[in-house]
Each structure stands twice: as structure tokens, then as C-alpha cells.
């Protein structure tokens, strides 16, 4: 393969890449082959040494960020855009409410999950408060000279404290779960957009 054959093949294969990127990679490989031939390497050998075209093309495309590729694709097919806009505007009464409804449902689900976490923590706090109150009452009853009732409150204080600790753990686990779930939902939404764009 000659230098010009190689470069035109490269140009053909990189069609769809942003013009700037295409120009730069053509210049790079053209210069590389020129420098090799100046160094005394025969043209055919220099082209072969540069590497196989499939590997080069794959490498360049994988290095180009997705948004650049998408931008190039969208801006290069202007002819479709006119009717696409008309369709979008005409379909507005249909897709806008649906989109809003979906967004609101996702948001309410998320709020419901956090409400669950908040109520679990509230249970924990009230159990803790009861435990403290019962503990205080133990001494009050002792001072009033009713040791049996004092014992009863002592038991209640221990039970409430135990439950509070259990609820603290449950709340923590649930909060973590909701956090992870929220992240997963977000990633899922992002993926939908990436797939659409690709």
C-alpha cells in the first residue's frame, strides 16, 4: 500500500469523526510515513510499519468521547431535524405529561423510601427518650418509697434502651439500602440516555 492509498483508506474509515480529529490523525500518520521514508525506509514498508488500519481506527474511535461522536452525528444530519422538531412540538401534549408523571412517580418513590428511614429513626429516638425517662423514674419512685414500682420502671428502661439499640441498627441498614438504591436508580436513568444517544 502506498502513502496516499493508506491515507485515503484512513479518511474513509474515520468518516463520522469530527473534522478536526480526522484532519489531525491524517496529518499525524502522513507525517510519520514521510519521516520514515526520509529515514531511508521504503514507502511500502513504512506504511506497513505504521500498523494495521483496523487497529488504528479502533484506537482512535475508542479514544474519542461519546459526546463528541454524538454531536458530530446530530449536526451532520441536519436534513432530518426540521420534521423532527415538528414532530416534537406536535407531540408535546402527549409526551410532556407522560414524562412529568414518570418523573413525579420516581421522585415520590424516593421520598417514600426516605420517609421510611426517617420514621425508623424517630422510633429509635422515642424509645431512647422513654428509656431515659424510665431511668429517671426509677430514682423518683425509690425516693418516694415505692421500691416495687421502681423495679418495674427499671425493667421498662432496660427494655426501651434495648429496643432503641436494635432500631438504631435497623435504621442504619435501611438508610444505607436507600442510598445504594438511589444511586442505582440514577445510574439506570443515565444509561437510558446513553443508549438513546448511541
Amino acid at each position: 500500500m502506498t502513502r496516499s492509498e493508506f491515507l485515503s483508506l484512513l479518511e474513509q474509515r474515520l468518516n463520522g469523526l469530527p473534522q478536526e480529529d480526522l484532519k489531525r490523525s491524517m496529518e499525524y500518520y502522513g507525517e510519520m510515513i514521510d519521516d520514515m521514508t526520509d529515514d531511508g525506509i521504503p514507502e511500502e514498508e513504512a506504511v506497513a510499519a505504521v500498523g494495521d488500519i483496523d487497529g488504528i481506527v479502533d484506537g482512535i474511535i475508542s479514544e474519542t468521547p461519546l459526546n463528541r461522536l454524538v454531536k458530530e452525528r446530530v449536526s451532520s444530519r441536519r436534513r432530518f431535524r426540521a420534521w423532527e422538531i415538528v414532530l416534537l412540538v406536535l407531540g408535546l401534549p402527549v409526551w410532556l405529561p407522560v414524562l412529568l408523571a414518570v418523573l413525579i412517580i420516581v421522585m415520590s418513590l424516593y421520598i417514600v423510601m426516605w420517609s421510611l428511614v426517617i420514621s425508623l429513626y424517630s422510633v429509635m429516638v422515642s424509645l431512647g427518650a422513654s428509656a431515659v425517662a424510665c431511668a429517671v423514674w426509677v430514682f423518683v419512685r425509690l425516693a418516694l418509697g415505692t421500691p416495687l414500682q421502681s423495679l418495674l420502671f427499671g425493667g421498662a428502661a432496660l427494655a426501651a434502651a434495648g429496643l432503641a439499640i436494635i432500631f438504631l441498627h435497623i435504621s442504619n441498614i435501611t438508610a444505607k439500602g436507600v442510598l445504594i438504591l438511589g444511586k442505582k436508580i440514577l445510574v439506570g436513568i443515565k444509561k437510558c440516555f446513553v443508549r438513546k444517544e448511541a
Binding site: 496529518e27 507525517e31 514521510d34 526520509d38 500498523g51
Partner: protein, 108 residues
């Protein structure tokens, strides 16, 4: 070698190749090749990445009646080389630790 690791090492190699004076693609490859395998198609994305990260700048100059791109290291690029030297000390100590474990196991 691990691809990510080699990619990072090659970036520093390219910076080192243009550290003392500006150089061009083919010359960079010739300078690096005795030490590590690098192909023309590997160098291209590395140069682009280093340029985007402001570690080097590109200028075009005429040579033998055609244009050639020369790469010039920036202050940030020089700092990157220095940072690599520091990182390398850490890698060496990790290597010492790994081989020490192996030697210990061999003795058992």
C-alpha cells in the same frame, strides 16, 4: 504488562523524550523504542491526551518542504515527570514488600 499501567508509563516516557528539546513523532518513537515497545498508533492517542491535559504544546514547522509537528513540554509536563519520580519510590517500596513476602514463603 497491565494496559493501564503501561499507558501511564508511556505518557511519562513521551514527556521525558521532549524534556530537553522539542521533538516530533518519529523521533520520539526512535528515542523511546530502545527502552520500551511503542507503536506509531500507540503514540498518537498519548500525544493527544498530553496536549489536552496541557502537559505539552504543539507547533507546526516546515521541514524539507513539508510540515512537521513539534511537541514542546510545558511547566506542568515537567512537574508530571517529577511527580512520577516520587511515585516510583513508592512503587519500589511496594515491590520490595511483595518480593520479601515471596522470599519468606520460599524459605518455608
Amino acid at each position: 504488562m497491565d494496559i493501564q499501567l503501561k499507558r501511564g508509563l508511556l505518557e511519562v516516557c513521551v514527556l521525558a523524550a521532549i524534556k530537553s528539546e522539542d521533538s516530533y513523532g518519529y523521533q520520539i518513537i526512535k528515542d523511546i523504542r530502545p527502552y520500551v515497545t511503542i507503536s506509531e498508533s500507540t503514540l498518537y492517542p498519548i500525544l493527544r491526551r498530553l496536549e489536552t491535559a496541557d502537559l505539552l504544546t504543539v507547533r507546526t514547522a516546515e521541514h524539507n518542504g513539508r510540515l512537521r509537528k513539534y511537541y514542546h513540554i510545558t511547566e506542568l509536563g515537567k512537574k508530571r515527570i517529577e511527580a512520577f519520580k516520587d511515585e516510583w519510590k513508592e512503587i519500589v517500596s511496594i515491590y520490595d514488600f511483595i518480593t520479601k513476602e515471596e522470599k519468606g514463603n520460599d524459605q518455608k
